[in-house]
């Protein structure tokens, strides 16, 4: 009974995800769109939890639902609040290309190994070594932690460098204006003499 219910939850979450995506396209009020992207990230995080990808779900919830909503709102403060109607001309070839690509991708999934199949090629290369060696090589009981922090330590270091660079970029873009405004405030209160 329980697996059936999990399938039902998966299907409903996917349907809600589709509905949210369509609503994001249709709604013209950008504030509402920013809110809906947060809901979209929350839904995908929920789906990732049902797929047992808990660490990815953590990242999606923190980055997608938390930080990106805040960044979108910060961007919204610097631009206008409504998007303009785009002209619906020449969309037929684009739609055709998207449908063809989608069909090709769905066709490719038939070649993929079953979900959670322990005999899948990805699980046979180094994974058995990680599972058997984690306890003695690293001494960390959690295998995911030992893979991320030690077996693939350089990979994680590279990711941290990328995220740090992205953070600096965002701070330069959004933080600059704040300094200007504070100086502007200071100048105004100096000249105006208002308390």
């Amino acid at each position: 009974m329980a697996p059936d219910m999990v399938t039902v939850i998966d299907l409903v979450l996917l349907a809600l995800l589709c509905a949210t995506a369509i609503a994001i396209i249709l709604v013209r009020q950008l504030f509402a769109v920013a809110m809906l992207t947060g809901a979209f990230s929350m839904l995908s995080a929920g789906l990732l939890v049902t797929l047992d990808a808990v660490d990815v779900a953590f990242t999606e919830a923190a980055v997608g639902a938390g930080v990106s909503t805040v960044l979108l709102l910060g961007t919204l403060a610097l631009t206008q609040r409504r998007s303009e109607e785009t002209r619906r001309r020449g969309t037929a070839p684009a739609l055709l290309a998207v449908i063809l690509t989608g069909c090709a991708l769905v066709y490719a999934t038939t070649d993929m190994p079953g979900f959670g199949d322990p005999g899948a090629p990805g699980f046979r290369h180094v994974v058995p070594e990680y599972i058997s060696g984690s306890e003695t090589d690293i001494g960390v009981p959690n295998i995911v932690t030992s893979v991320l922090a030690s077996y693939r330590g350089y990979d994680t270091l590279g990711e941290v460098a990328v995220i740090f660079t992205a953070g600096i970029g965002v701070l330069l873009l959004l933080g600059r204006r704040r300094e200007d405004e504070i100086q502007d405030e200071a100048r105004r209160s100096d000249s105006g003499g208002e308390g």
């Binding site: 009974m1 329980a2 219910m5 999990v6 039902v8 939850i9 409903v12 809600l16 509905a19 949210t20 609503a23 709604v27 009020q29 504030f31 509402a32 809110m35 809906l36 947060g38 809901a39 929350m42 839904l43 995080a45 929920g46 939890v49 049902t50 808990v54 779900a57 953590f58 919830a61 923190a62 639902a65 938390g66 909503t69 805040v70 709102l73 910060g74 919204l76 403060a77 959004l174 933080g175 204006r177 704040r178 405004e181 504070i182 405030e185 209160s189």
Partner: protein, 97 residues
Amino acid sequence: MWTAAAIALLVAMMMALARAFLGPSLFDRILAINSFGTKILLLIGVLGFLTERPEFMDIALLYALVNFIGTIAVLKFFRYRNLGLSGPAAGNLENRE
């Protein structure tokens, strides 16, 4: 019992999302998205009990924190029309408007 709870949560999620799509005012949407996030984290908790792995509660707790911070940020944006300022500077901006 957990199945019934999960179905009830899914229905509630659909209703909250419908309010977020239709919502005439911004506050409707903010409230809908906030309660939608709450439903998601409740669903994750129920899912943990459904698959007999109650450790999922920890994840649900983190989601609660993220959801809360997000709502605070949105409300702050709505109040001050800006996220950059805080403290006394934000007070000045408020007076100016």
